[in-house]
Amino acid sequence: MPESSCYRITHRTEYRYSDPVAICQNQVMLTPRELPRVRCHRTDVQILPAPGQCRSHADYFGNPVHTFAIETAHRDLSVTVASDVEVQAPRYPEPDQTAVWEGVRDAVLSGQDPDWYAAEEYRYPSAMVAVGAQFADYAAASFTPGRPILSAGLDLTRRIHADFRYDVTATKVDTLAEASFRLRAGVCQDFAHIQIACLRSLGLPARYVSGYLRTIPPPGKPRLVGADQSHAWASLYGGSQLGWVDLDPTNACVVATDHVPISIGRDYRDVAPMRGVVLGGGSPALTVRVDVVPVASFG
């Protein structure tokens, strides 16, 4: 595993409308937030047609948000975000050497964990992720009594990968964790929601991470431009020693330098990459192109 990787990321969202849009008001969450092992060297947001108003602020969870309005009639809207991001490899101990999971849970609950408050928010059910016995029961097979937390977390990640079918037709962007859990199918968003629901149902803090995954072309084939995608995964709080550990149930792995996180929230709804209200527009057609290009450095 390399110590760090550098990426030049381009994310282009285009709306093409059948009728003119009189006005649109939008929010995008597409620029990377700073994290202990993520550095953003440069980020640039280009909006066409140029908006009259564009303001940015950090949301409650610390993610950068850009709010803009286009007040002239238009038929197309494109938002292109280009970012240079450097990701450090995490240094995790051997999974069997990590703290016992019940101990992590109890220390947050009692407030003995010095960092409990940062994790507290993520213990509770949220808009798209309920908690309940069905999730706790499913998770119990991994979270056996006394098991080290990372070992148990990895086991749960692999089981979700094995037990749930990746199926882009099974769910929609607003499908709740309970529904995809029943269906035993979904996409990365659903897998992340299910894993978060399992962890929270055990009393463990877990959060939702949206970002990108570098695609590695088959041996001998060139990398396809624009074929990358947004991605999402879960993050588990492993106690003050371990901190947050990102786990990718879609790919059954610990997140390292192939993943680039952008935003963090309780579930998808907190970090939806683009929200908007448009006046008019008829039926819009949406295209999204993502490029995650590895570069040697940002010299």
């Binding site: 969870f61 808009a127 949206s210 209200v277 006046l279 008019g280 999204v288």
Partner: protein, 845 residues
Amino acid sequence: MSTTKTNATTPFADYRPMPGQYDECFGPDGWPRRAFVRLVDHINGLGRESLDTLVSEGLALVRESGITYNAIEEEGERTRPWELAFTPLVVHAEEWRVLEAGLAQRTRLLEAVLDDLLGPQRLLRERVIPPEVVLSSPEFLRPFHGLPKVGGVRLHVTATELARDATGQWQVIGDRTRAPSGLGYLVENRIITSRAYPELIHHSNVHRVAPFFMRLRQLFESLSPRLTPNPRVAILTPGQKSYRYFEDTFLARYLGYTLVQGRDLAVRGGRLNLKTLGGLVPIDVLWRHISDDQCDPLELAPDAIEGVTGLVQTARSGNVSIANGLGSKLAQTPALLPFLAAANRFLFGGELQLSTVETHWCGQPESLARVLSDLDRFVLRPAFAVRGDGLIRPLQMSAEARQELIGALRDRPQQYVAQAMTSRSTTPVWREGRMESWYVALRAFQIQTGQDVAVLPGGLVRVSPTPQGVENPHGSTQLGQDCWVISDGPVDQTSTLLPGEHVPLRFVRGGAELPSRVAENLFWLGRYSERAESIARVLRTTMLRLVGEQSVGDLPEMPRLIAALAAIGQIEPDYAVKELQGSLPSLDDALPASLYTIDQQRGLSPSVTALADKATAVRDRISLDAYRIVQQIAQELATPVRIRGRADTRSAINRLSRLITGLLAFSGIGQESFTRTLGWRFLQLGRRIERAWQTAEVLRATLVDPDERSVLEAVLEATDSLMTYRSRYLLRLEPDATIDLLVTDETNPRSIRFQLERIVEVLDPLPLEPDEVGTPYERRLAFELLHRVRMAQPATLAIAEPEQRRATLDHLLEVLTEGLPELSNAITARYLIHTLPSQSLTGQV
């Protein structure tokens, strides 16, 4: 002052305070308390009969003022009149000062708690408040965290629900920090009660409520983000269907603010604007009466249609001042109640002066155990949201329901708050000739500025014969009551909101700042009032013939009048076809019954209902007299008079006459008491278009076939022109003179031409797009219709062709009956439909 124990014949003679409670009026010794002495004397002095008269006159006043209360009931939404108990609750100022201090302290505490929760969250980090109470609450909406304060505070107007326990201590039941309702009713209660006891209120040193509203107005003006001498303050109401609507229209009028709904607003250029006929005008201060989660479809729920897209960002940038601050709802979370005393110690280092009724949040195991061990002593409420209908009473539950509740409490304890059953004080209420002892709920109000807290002297009192009856603020068994705080010495006599003479007056003319929605409502108000009058006249003309001496079969005008009624949509079109009439109910039954039926969509009863509805929608724009008249009109058709199961023709005629008188009074107000603003123009447009159209329909059904004298007479009668005709031509009834008077005469206010002349006049000054070239479509249409009528010759119109029809008249009327609705649509398209449908976009992962 003499205080006598009441004697046997006086109203208070048989008053028996509810045992075991604190009675507001009488002490345990059976003597009136100090605050109530004058009132008891006064009412005893009035005697039973005068008191009855005073109450019934007062109730009539309530009904006439149209004070209503939209109570949301299970079968749908209904409006019922606000009901008032005519005995005020009286509190002595010395006692009030203690309560006032406690309320002010509590207001400052809630402000500090909210500011912490929307900021550093020290109360959660230090576990003064269990973090779960806030972080797991669906009411804690993250977009509101970190929004700037507005004028130094987040809670500008708050209310406190109070009950007085058996020892006489006031206790807090809950807080209202979102957008507390009740201030409008409170003012109405005060106005009506002071009319009932004019001398008493003057001599009792009752603290006025007007100064509170003056401070409120000063506060809102001070909040403006722009340095402007006249900041625009608007009240954002959830709309006509909401229980708040009556009150919001009242407050808008009382305070002189613009009443707006979400669809009247638009965020443009980063500022909040009101969409008016003349374009966008900026709003500086928004008094928000919609719920927090409804404020902005962009950042909150996509279906938040009561709000406006972009409002949260506008608040974040400080470009509009919203009161109460967005996110204020969090401070009224019932689950916070048990922790407020500790929060006060943590934040301010002292005790709360005003106690809270024993409350437990069941999310704590020890609290849950305590609640479960003594369940009957408590009522349960939802932990996170204030809901009038959310009250659960274990004491009144079946064993089965109780077990279910215990199961729910064990499963989801954090969802519940348990409050000890409230002990409430009682107070006298004069009801059906008896002085009864009813339970009291008091809602107190506070204004907070960056400097201080002002408590309204008094409050909104609800009384009910049962303690449960007052728990739900929307309950149907309760009455409102005025609350007097009285001093021994003189008090501030300000009782009006008119500015003093030292305030320089800026001359203004009402104008383009008319919200498009209001213009639309006024337009339809005009149309419906004219439609109702036109139908009522034709119907009356017809029914007068039904009850006349001659048999209906001998009257040549009857088939024509029936055809006219069918043409204007009052009766089944089949009545106009001779062959079908036999299969239909007889006219004697059908016509009177048609007054009350809603089967014919364009008929009288639906038109009158729509008229009342539109009047309600613009009640902040029309005078109280106009509103009252419309309510009386609607009342005429509310209940049919039936004799032996059949709607009665004679009483129907009387009602139609009263209806017509009412409609004339209403149009007189429109003419005489409505300034010639844009609003008036739309009212006129609606009225003139409808009258021209109705007249054209009636004439087409009656005059196209040549006629006998009696037909002409009936038509003149139905169009209110018979008197004018007679004054000109005496008893000679001729078709050409009749057609002239009703179609081409520019001086007859009932003629079609008169309507079209007015339409063209009224359309002319309406605003156009700045870069518009040429005559716009709706004006061309109006010119064209007017031109055709101007060019028509009455003599030609009256000519009957060989096949015995007036083809020229028929053609002209056809052009009018098609052109007038088209004109209405064209005006609507330009001025009244301001928004395209909006849609929400989401990206994808």
